[in-house]
Amino acid sequence: MSAVAEEKKIIAGGSFLIEERTPEEIFTPEDFTDEHRMIAETTREFVDNEVRPATEELEQHNWQLARELIRKAAELGLIGVNIPEEYGGLGLDQTSGAIVGEMMGRSASFATTLGAQSGIGLTPIIYFGTEAAKQKYLPKIAAGELITAYALTEAGSGSDAMAAKATARLSADGTHYVLNGEKMWITNGGFADVFVVFAKVDGDKFSGFIVERQPGLTSGAEEHKMGIKGSSTTALVLSDVTTPVENLLGEVGKGAKIAFNILNFGRFKLGSMCSGGMKLMIREAVRYANERHQFGRPISSFGAIKAKLAEMAIRAWVGETLVYRTLGLIENAISGAQDSEAKLRGIEEYAAECSIIKVALSESCDFVADEMVQIYGGYGYSADYPAEGAYRDSRINRIFEGTNEINRMLIPGRIMKSALSGKLALLPAAQKLMDEVLSPTLGALDEDAGVLAVEAKLAAAAKKVALMTLGTAVQKYMTALAGQQEVLMGIADIIMDAYAMESSVLRAQKLVAVQGEEQSARHLDMVSVFCHDAIDRIETHAKQTLAAMSEGDELRTLLAALRRFTKRTPINTVAARQRIADVLIKANRYAY
């Protein structure tokens, strides 16, 4: 096989900040095939018919039932969707896997259970397992016969996962490893059969292992959690637990590579699950608002409620747009990759985008859950109605798979890493922009007519502001930037909004091209409102970060450039939100 034949255009991660894309270049849910839609429908039917009605029993920790549900999910192909065919899976594309994840998000607890079973507890074996381990475990995991878990966190090492204390040592005869230590917060910990465990060989070489349940491996009691109570979370104690050398994942001392790569998958999956969860919450909220009457009319007829419904839908739609645009990038990079290494490089390329999805979707999901409670009023505070559980369930997403603080810092961090390695021509672009900032003939955002013209310019402006703040930060702090957390978090927020703005403009342009302006009106409203709100947020973050980094004339110049970049005439977002809400109210569901 020649190297040339394998070559295809891979869009560099983070390049959205400095490159232009056309609508055709990005993947959107409108590109789903009939098969994708049917996979969505099967998963939705399964979750709605089998899993959601079982919520109460799962919340009482009926893990036998959880096992049965996993087995049923497996029969449908929902576990093996991304497991290669030669190991008993279906070997379908990443899009199919993401769609399954999205629909699973309709049951937060079970989505978490499956997030371990077919996500973090499985992916390390696919990508880092030895042939023997793959043959042994994958078919049974795909069939739902073996339940998996992922044990990285310890009591003393959460965000700082590499500080784990668990140890592994090779037996004298070199046939197996002996593991000792304690793990914390392990999803499926109460009933899993197979664990991906991270431990340090000889106390310093951080490594990953597959470990089967055995007498020396004991699960702690179920944690009393705020939400996702229908998923098992326990500590694990490993005392002289053994595992054969074939169960080593990757190489000794290379465990960090596994942990971080798997987190990219996990973050992405979490985003797609949040997307599904949000749409369900919106449907419930719209129905409730249509049914609930006060002052002689449905509460959905009140502007205050409409504004909420509209914003919930905007967050869900933009979030979904982010998920699938990124998925398209990953799919393109992974499909046709010759080996695991190449596939991993494919997803690692988009580590920044995966972190964006994790943060943006988990926070939107929380926003939607919060507004859902509010729309339900007192009934939102009652455990007899769905809002209360949804609100508690949603909260975990900002904590696991890397807290949102850690992920925020990773966003500029990963982009800068690509830039410094020369893969991403960010520094020259930032330099060029700085020259533009200092030049007196800086072009302002002129009011252009035409569909999405203003929004496209706002998105372009957002990218410039991201580049300007990032460029200023690099100049100012050089390699010490990593220590400037507040600045990094502000820049992360700007980058996230910029990616979201551009993605939604491109998706809407694509919709207009396919179905015309009139049919796309409701989407155009969403993109308008989102872009105008986002540029306000961006301006605020930019002011704060620039003022933290510079002063005097330099600051004045930067702020003047910021003003010119983001100059805009406010639109009537009140009316636009009403129109968005009316679509939902009329359809009585999430209709975007």
């Binding site: 009939d34 098969e35 839609r37 049917m38 996979i39 429908e41 099967t42 039917e45 399964f46 029969e75 449908l76 192909g77 929902l78 093996g80 969707v81 279906l90 379908l92 199919s96 009329k586 359809a587 009585n588 569901r589 209709a591």
Partner: protein, 257 residues
């Protein structure tokens, strides 16, 4: 055994319906669609028969290209191939012309058994299947809730009124209309979905003499049920008698049990 299942695509149950301008149909613009509920049960029965006795299940649906969704779904659940009677206006045909188009599309197949749902969730005529049987010269049974095809005869259990049932023996080939809720419908597995991609969907166009001609029946006006309120006092002060009457009414009038 060759079994043909006639399946219709209808508006989603949850859809909020709006009536079109000339009050002859519902606004179809942004409707979402699903398979007619009882047709799904008909397919399930057909697939179970095939599992027991071997043979082939052919699904046939009629309407614009959007009905491909119903066809592909049926193929993903296990049907072997499909016939699509294509035409934009076909979903609004009255039962006789609809049955004519369907009967001609499947006549040459010489099926051993034809199954449909007992009625469509949109028009609810409950006639199309019966007329197809007539046009093909086949015996039929309606509202079937159980069936046995182990020998060359057919034994079917029909639902009658008031909790009564009937076992009925009939020759094959035949047409059966199937009641909803009689079994657990299988899922389309991911494997089934991918396999369906390779299955045949044959498109046929009905000739105009099948579907036109003087309509025997047409919709002159559709409207939402007019709500009127009526209060009835039950039991005449006797709570026990009132409860009994209420239970009776719930069973026979409201039919919630």
């Amino acid at each position: 055994m060759k079994i043909i299942v006639l399946m219709k695509q209808v508006a989603n149950k949850d859809a909020i319906l709006r009536i079109n301008k000339d009050a002859t149909w519902i606004e179809e613009g942004d409707l979402s669609y699903e398979v007619n509920e009882s047709d799904g049960y008909a397919l399930e029965e057909a697939l179970r028969l095939k599992e027991k006795h071997g043979g082939e299940v052919v699904v046939c649906s009629m309407g614009p290209q959007r009905v491909k969704a119903v066809i592909k779904d049926a193929l993903a659940r296990g049907a072997d191939r499909a016939i699509h009677v294509v035409g934009d206006e076909l979903t609004r045909l009255a039962p006789l012309p609809a049955a004519r188009a369907l009967a001609e599309a499947i006549r040459a197949e010489q099926a051993d058994l034809i199954m449909t749902g007992l009625q469509s969730d949109d028009n609810g005529y409950g006639q199309t299947g019966v007329i197809v049987a007539e046009l093909l010269g086949l015996p039929h049974a309606t509202i079937v809730i159980e069936l046995d095809a182990s020998d060359d005869k057919l034994r079917v259990k029909r639902e009658l009124e008031n909790g009564w049932y009937q076992w009925y023996e009939m020759p094959r080939p035949a047409l059966l209309t199937i009641q909803s809720g009689i079994s657990q419908i299988r899922y389309a597995t991911l494997k089934g979905i991918m396999a369906a991609k390779k299955k045949e969907i044959r498109e046929v166009a009905p000739t105009s003499d099948m579907t036109s001609g003087a309509p025997d029946q047409r919709i002159t006006k559709i409207y939402f049920p007019q709500k009127t309120k009526q209060t009835q006092f039950l039991g005449d002060g006797d709570a026990k008698a009132g409860a009994a009457q209420l239970a009776e009414k719930l069973r026979t009038e409201a039919r919630v049990f």
